[in-house]
């Protein structure tokens, strides 16, 4: 084995060990056929937040009727052009987003940062959230966001929400 290969292998092993960690919860897996789409494309303007607890994103709601005869997955793609700026650099002030089903169930993962809080301008951020098991019938998807206490302000800006669900 060459040195470079050995180094790569050692690196891979270390990386794998670190990745595996010691306290990983089991991932959530599943299969489905969410071939129907509903979406909302927002106005191309500011969507600012000053709350440091989650509040509704305006123009961020999609109502849909899950098809089928048994629960199956729903995938929610959120795309935005946000910015979050630290008021006291270098302390970052992230902009955090979550997606709620019927106002009660958070998607996986439960929340994601759409800005690291050290932006110098707007930049595209996007994420596919997963609801593993949604019962047939009428539902509502709502995107929520919050600012960091480090600044108390962020802007999600223009955003699209695309919901894939069962026909």
């Amino acid at each position: 084995m060459s040195c470079s290969n050995a180094t790569a292998l050692a690196g891979a092993m270390i990386g794998t060990l670190l990745a595996a960690g010691t306290a990983l919860a089991a991932p959530t897996t599943g299969s489905c056929s969410p071939t129907k789409v509903k979406f909302i494309a927002s106005d191309a303007t500011f969507f600012q937040v000053t709350s440091t607890s989650f509040v509704n994103v305006p123009q961020g709601v999609v109502n849909f009727t899950q098809g089928g005869t048994s629960p199956s997955c729903v995938i929610v793609g959120v795309s935005a052009d946000p910015t979050g700026v630290a008021s006291s650099p270098p302390t970052p002030a992230p902009l955090t987003v979550r997606v709620m089903l019927d106002g009660t169930t958070a998607a996986l993962p439960n929340e994601v940062d759409f800005s690291d809080g050290a932006d110098t301008g707007n930049q595209v951020r996007s994420f596919d959230f997963i609801f593993p098991s949604v019962a047939p019938g009428d539902h509502s998807i709502r995107v929520q966001f919050k600012a960091s206490p480090a600044s108390g302000f962020a802007d999600l800006n223009r955003h699209n929400v695309i919901v894939n669900y069962a026909p």
Partner: protein, 159 residues
């Protein structure tokens, strides 16, 4: 011609003297990947210090490609990635050997101060019917480590 702004002059000059990039032909196709399998990870750091590609934990999806002929598979990967200690790159591998298009992408730009949402859709243009596995791999590019944090891997394939 009088240029109102230096930037316009630069663009015009480059259009005249800069070499024209020669692009390889793109890969094009069409397909109907109506089935989904996914894995939603735990919300921990998923840190790597490896500078060569290693498997990202909780980012492997096994699936059975349907149909009678090869067709496309789409791999939609999302992560709350943090590159404040190093840029890092990712790739999607089919059956441990075939790299999705593009072969790798840089997920972070080296100016991160914390996690932020990133999503990329990889394309496998021609996957034969039958059982397959897609795995996401990652590596650091410069600094000490990269942290993927919570990530979702969603594979769209033929019914």
């Amino acid at each position: 011609m009088i240029f109102a702004k230096p930037a316009m002059a630069a663009v015009a000059l480059c259009a005249t003297v800069c070499p024209i990039a020669s692009h390889a032909d793109p890969v094009v196709g069409n397909c109907s990947p109506a089935r989904v399998k996914y894995v939603a990870s735990d919300a921990l750091a998923f840190k790597t210090i490896s500078s060569s590609y290693v498997d990202l934990a909780q980012a492997r999806v096994g699936f059975r490609q349907g149909g009678n002929t090869p067709s496309c598979v789409l791999v939609r990967f999302s992560a709350n990635a943090n590159g404040d200690q190093s840029n890092f790159a990712i790739r999607a591998l089919l059956d441990g050997a075939e790299m999705a298009l593009p072969n790798e992408v840089v997920l972070t730009d080296g100016a991160d101060k914390g996690p932020a949402a990133r999503r990329f859709t990889f394309v496998l243009p021609s996957v034969s019917p039958g059982s397959h596995t897609v795995a996401i791999q990652y590596r650091r590019l410069n600094g000490t480590d990269g942290r993927m944090n919570a990530h979702n891997t969603i594979v769209w394939f033929a019914r």
